[in-house]
């Protein structure tokens, strides 16, 4: 069937098998492989993307459910060659090792910072409940999100 939607600001139309999962559509048809599949049960969060501005686990959303929606993936986060503060934060604070959970982690964190500009460590830990990382033990991820939050508050103030 026909699917039309906007991905990272670009409109697309594709013919898809109705049972196609959003994550497989993004990876295999739209060619955006930055979004990863870690469990296919919405437990690990590696596939997190934004659907109409909110974080969703794209492994348990059918692509057809995104009809007419605006999707943002990790590939759409940097603007005009400038990394998003969260991307900078993860880089500066060593918030990643193998990198597999990272795109989902960053997208989940972006959702948090859109709701809470200045989250506490406890709030960050709780907000990341749906995103697993096996490498970092989370501390550097938390530092990365705090660093990005501070940068974004300054940017907004300026």
């Amino acid at each position: 069937m026909r699917l039309s939607l906007t991905i990272n600001g670009e409109r697309r139309e594709d013919d898809i098998d109705p049972r196609t999962l959003l994550v497989h559509y993004l990876r295999d048809i739209a060619g955006l492989t930055g979004t990863h599949v870690g469990c296919e049960t919405s437990l690990c969060g590696a596939c997190t993307v934004h659907l109409n501005g909110h974080a969703v686990k794209s492994c348990t959303v059918l692509a057809v459910q995104a009809e007419g929606a605006e999707i943002t993936t990790i590939e759409g986060l940097a603007r005009g060659g400038q990394l998003h503060p969260l991307q900078e934060g993860f880089w500066e604070e060593h918030g990643l090792q193998c990198g597999y959970c990272t795109p989902g982690m960053i997208m989940a964190a972006a959702d948090l910072l859109a709701r809470n500009r200045n989250p506490t460590e406890t709030q960050i830990r709780e907000a990341l409940e749906g995103n697993l990382c096996r490498c970092t033990g989370y501390q550097h991820i938390i530092n990365a999100i705090q660093s990005a939050a501070a940068k974004m508050r300054t940017q907004k103030a300026a």
Binding site: C44, A46, Y138, H140
Partner: protein, 780 residues
Amino acid sequence: MAVIPKFVGERIKRREDPRLITGTGMYVDDVRLPGMLSAVVLRSPHAHAKINSIDLSKARALKGVVCVLSGDDLRDKVGPVPCVAPADHVPYHPVLAQGKVRFVGEGVAVAVASSPYIAQDALDLIDVDYDPLDAVVDPEKALEPGAPVLHEEFGNNSVTFASVPNPAVDEAMRKADKIIKARLVNQRLAPIPMEPRGAVARWDGGYKQLTVWSSTQIPHLLRSQLAEMLKVGENRIRVIAPEVGGGFGCKLNVYAEEALVAHLSMTLGKPVKWIERRRENFAGTTHGRDQITYLEVAALKDGTVTAVKAHFVCDMGAYLQLLTPAIPGFSGLMMTGCYKIPALSFDQQMVFTNKMSTDAYRGAGRPEACYIAERVMDMVAAEFGLDPADVRRKNFIPKEAFPAPTAGGLVYDSGDYELSLNKALEIVGYQKVRAEQEAARKQGRYIGIGIASYVEICGIGPSALLPPKLKGGGWESATIRMEPDCKVTVLTGVSPHGQGQETTFAQIVADELGIDIDDVNVVHGDTAVVQYGIGTFGSRGTTVGGPALMMSVGKLQEKMKKIASTMMEVPPDQLIFTNRTVALASDPSKSIPLQQVVDAAYGYKQPIPGVEPGLDATSFYEPQNCTFPFGTHVAVVEVDPETGVVKFLRYVAVDDCGRILSPLLVEGQVHGGIAQGIAQALYEEVVYDESGQLLTATLMDYAVPKAHMLPRYELSATVTPSPVNVLGVKGVGEAGTIGSTPCVVSAVMDALKPFGIRHIDMPLKPEKVWRAIRDAQQKG
């Protein structure tokens, strides 16, 4: 010209990260090739069953399906899954089951189709007629007469029995003030890298070239094994480890699916991809630990431990994967930990059960050893009413004793165990926390302080320590190439998958050659590009791969000095590399640009006597000994007696990994290690029911810790360089995992002391802790 700074020892950002934070890294599932087909594996729902027949006809008839095969179709076509470690009984391990299945998740058939969705549909159409057999999942029961036998040809379920006797142990037992006995369990764990396994194969018939992309830690060793399984020359196989999303030991292996996709691609003439799903990952990727240890400890009243004797029962699972029976050996050898325990004896009974194979998992044998050693120290302290820190001090190998031969027959390279203990206790404020604990107990609050001093074995090591059948030894390789434009390419035989050697090795090279870190490109994980290497495991990346790189750097420097020496007319031994020049050590203002030296080597318009054109060097470094990182972790926890929930109040880790090249990356390694060790202590356990069904087959049932389940870690370090290698490094990949498990168990047991509870087997889940408290209260 700007001065180029030094990079080693600086907290610099990783060079791997820009692609990973923008979603442009390429993992195996991101490999896309024209005409690529998808393979999906049908897996056994039974732990133990006879296969009467398999009907593939309906699956084969489905539109879009290219091929469906069962184990019988592959007889004599694909060799068995290899085990290179010695064992008395090594069973035939077919890539797909033949005649019988022996664990839930064993591959039974494979469907290949134009898309994974259609291949999955095809699996639903395969009809397998099974006769279920009795299964055995408890390794101790598997040894009893009458137990179901997995491999009939062996007559029983024994894999192998290994014994390291020592008459001095019996002597020490006779003279002991007390013999403490215990049964300790290191439960079965699942490694769970966030990226499951996966492989893509492409056979180019015209060129007779097989390319296999695999999410592996050991591309070259995999190539050697695939060559044997497929009967294809190693010079015709290229293995690429692309971006690998974590390994933790479970990708230090050779799996059926890697050979399967290769065989399928060779027979179908098209690229074939197989990507593991998480449920398959739980059932069909190697597990770790699963050891039971019966301990006898000879101790004196003053806390001195004079002998340790242990009997291990080690669960190998249904088949032997690459190193399965080799892992428990480290648990025996390292069981005396940081302590000068003079007498050690142990034996190990390894057993087949109807479960997935165990093999390396972060720490691989040493977490088990450290858990044993540290429980021993706590039990001795509890027995004689001594402070657990004092018991450790009493038994530590003193710093003057290094290099220190151990009762296990190893020689620890260097160490200062008391220094790390004292530092950790100082950071946590030991006396103050003890006082707070005392005060809290009076208010009915249960705070516990846990201590674990660990030593582990890394950088393995001299090749003689590795199994004789392993192609490749304990060495590592590196090539360094100064390109004509003065940029440097490094080809390393290690295969990092998150550890960050693209950064660490670039730091080393930049400093040694006086160039910028941006001038260095570190390449790994492609057997067509990189000389034979061993791979990344056992904290060996920098410990063994680093010295190999230093050897090549040295050779390159020597050559460039020779060239520069003729150009500058000064002796080569007076030259140094600094700020993109070759300069006189005594007066760096007297220099020539590095580019001129490089031009001379490549242009070669004026031949230099005794110097070949070109600028590259390759080295293979064989370590003379292993390295032995160490440290002390201290945890402060509070246990809620009403719920059994354990809450962290503090977590302090003082680690000594020798010289620190990249502090930020070292911290990252320690953090991740601690998280996995805490997970063993408190949360994780692979559970099979009595019939061999895997109950923990999703991330809902298997408790990989989330951010809110872990504490903030307070790290510090001592630095005791290793004399084993030129860099002075010891390795840090597994240290955190090794120290943290016993530390947390120690803390929980300390909290439960007022209840008279001395031991609970891991994981210390709230329910278990709550039951132990309730039982103790009812008894009391």
